[in-house]
Amino acid sequence: MSEAPAAEGRAWARPEVHIDRRMVISAAVAVGLILFALLGLPALFGTDWITTFTGVTIYSIVALGFGLLYGRVGLISLGQVALLAIGVWTTTRLSYATSIPFPLLLIIVGAIVMVIGVLVGLTAVRLSGLYLALITLMFAGATQIVLSVIDFPNGGHGFTGHTAVPPLTGLAGVRRPAIATGETGYYRYVVIVTAILFLVALVHVASKPGRAWASIRESEPAALAAGVNITLYKLWAFALASFLTGVAGCLLAALNGVSRAINFQTQDSLTLAATSLIGGIFSLWGAFIAGIFNQLLPFLFQTQWNVDFNFLLVVFGAGLLQVLLTAPGGLIDQFPKDMANLGRLITGKVPVTRQAVCGIGSILALIVGIALLATVTPVVGVIVVILSPVLAVYATS
């Protein structure tokens, strides 16, 4: 009896659970999409597409980690791809050294990367905002250097497991789970693991840690005053995000088979941050959009449309500026809103203002620009894409 008032006194204690229509629809859409991803996509697309979709799924886990940290707790980490690379490295090393079954390997690598992530996150207890972004960026830079020196294991001996002349066992690469060795089978395996990880993230966000994170994000002094253990919950967020990234690294290692240091650059940590923000950091769905931007668009540009891959950097840069200026919730949040606004403008339900037109124009410029890059001349596409942040400025002023 005496415990009840204490619980009530805490602002962030468990609220009543409401299950409204939106949640039901959201869950139904999620289940439908997972079923479509498992059964529909493999029937519709060839092997190279399926491998790309596996990449999209894996990178959406990494984006989820970034989104949890920045969107939920307000902690920015520019070193997520470095953590991913550590996950890939650890998986490769363990795969050559042991014969641990794959599901167990997922958890072990997740745990190891979690420990490293928490060590990086320890700095976050004191640093925030700009300084945290910088220290994680420096961590990413240092990791890249170390990785380029020691390289990925290829079946050699010693701690690094790398030899100049790899033994024949090294050519086989990281093994995949026994039940999913083919491209389609492995793709389905990855989708299921990803669904479980998103569920884990959802449970966190919807329960006590999620509320603690929200209070820290809104105001640290207020959270402290309300009795939130800031150190614990910040480290918890880093632990969760790093665990997710570690598991993603394990999945990626088995997808690649043989990984190369050149595929994990500091630049990739920065583009991951950009695409995560473009997708949307407040919604778990945003992580999927980020995965698509990060993996599917390069595939489409390079192998399907035969367009220079570097245009994507322009798209990421313009998209990042656009999102930072007008759409903090990312495309997943802003695109439906802007389309609804467009409908209202056309039907005359709301007056035509400069802000409204520029806001809608800004998001359309980004999407139309990508289409123009692929179909018409690249120059026009680049100009339209760059117009996006400029319009965004006029939408806010």
């Binding site: 910088l134 220290i135 170390v146 402290l224 570097n310």
Partner: protein, 315 residues
Amino acid sequence: MTSLLGLSIFGVDWQDLKPFIVTGLAFGGVYALSGVGLVVLYRATGVLNLAFGAIGAAGALIAYYLIMHTGWPHWLAFTICVLTGGVINLLYGMVIGPAFARRDPLVKMMGTLGLALILLGIMNWRAPIGGAFARFLTLPSSPHHYQIAGTSVSLTQIIAIGLAFAITAGVTVFLRVTKLGTAMRALANDREISATLGVPVRRVEAAAWFGSGIVCGMAGLLLPDLLVSLDESALTYLVISSLAAALIGRLRSLWMTLAGGLAVGLLQAVLTPYYRASPISSVSSYRSAAPFVLAIIALLYMNRRRVVAVSRTTY
């Protein structure tokens, strides 16, 4: 290996170390120069410019094409390179900058990351790296060599070190003596109060963007020469080494930034000859990580007394 003096440091002869000290100081000079540019802009506008390297690279590429394809005189191409830095920075600061004015420093920095990606994408598209030959942007000062303390030093290296000191001293005096400099210091202290007191905020910020951009252009001109080849991706990410210098200066002190830049460059270069068997040979291959490690130490030291991070995150 043993010289007549017999002075050797961790197994490497002092005479062999000298050229690396010179190279290190020259690189350090450019890091310091860029660091000072970053700090001045950060203090005046609150923007930590991640596009610093990309802007410098853009200027260098333009200079390269002017020299190779139009046959313009070198001095004109170099002037245009330096001005390009100023103009791109100014355009960003005037078009996009004001929209970020009231946002968190973190969001401002992420905005410049957007600019960096756009510039890098356009540069990689118009001037792809690789191919048959590397690009060289050699300054006319490079063939001139002098013997200083028993080692050969090129005029470009002397310019890099000298310019770092000159810019640091010049900016310090400028901030202290001139009206514009005083206004910049006022903005650094408090933007709102400065505006109330009649400081023309936009104009002062524009000056900071332009001045910082000019320094970008200078770094963009010096680095390809010191690095031997002109590679826009490498230049873009060299901003991280300059950030290390700025962080050692606590994003505040220009002279500490200068010292930080020189230290970063020196540490990176001096470890180079240790790849041969010596007690610290294993460290040598990780020498490129020196800027990051120094920056991490500087960041942790800067914030050693903070207990709670009190800034509210705004998106």
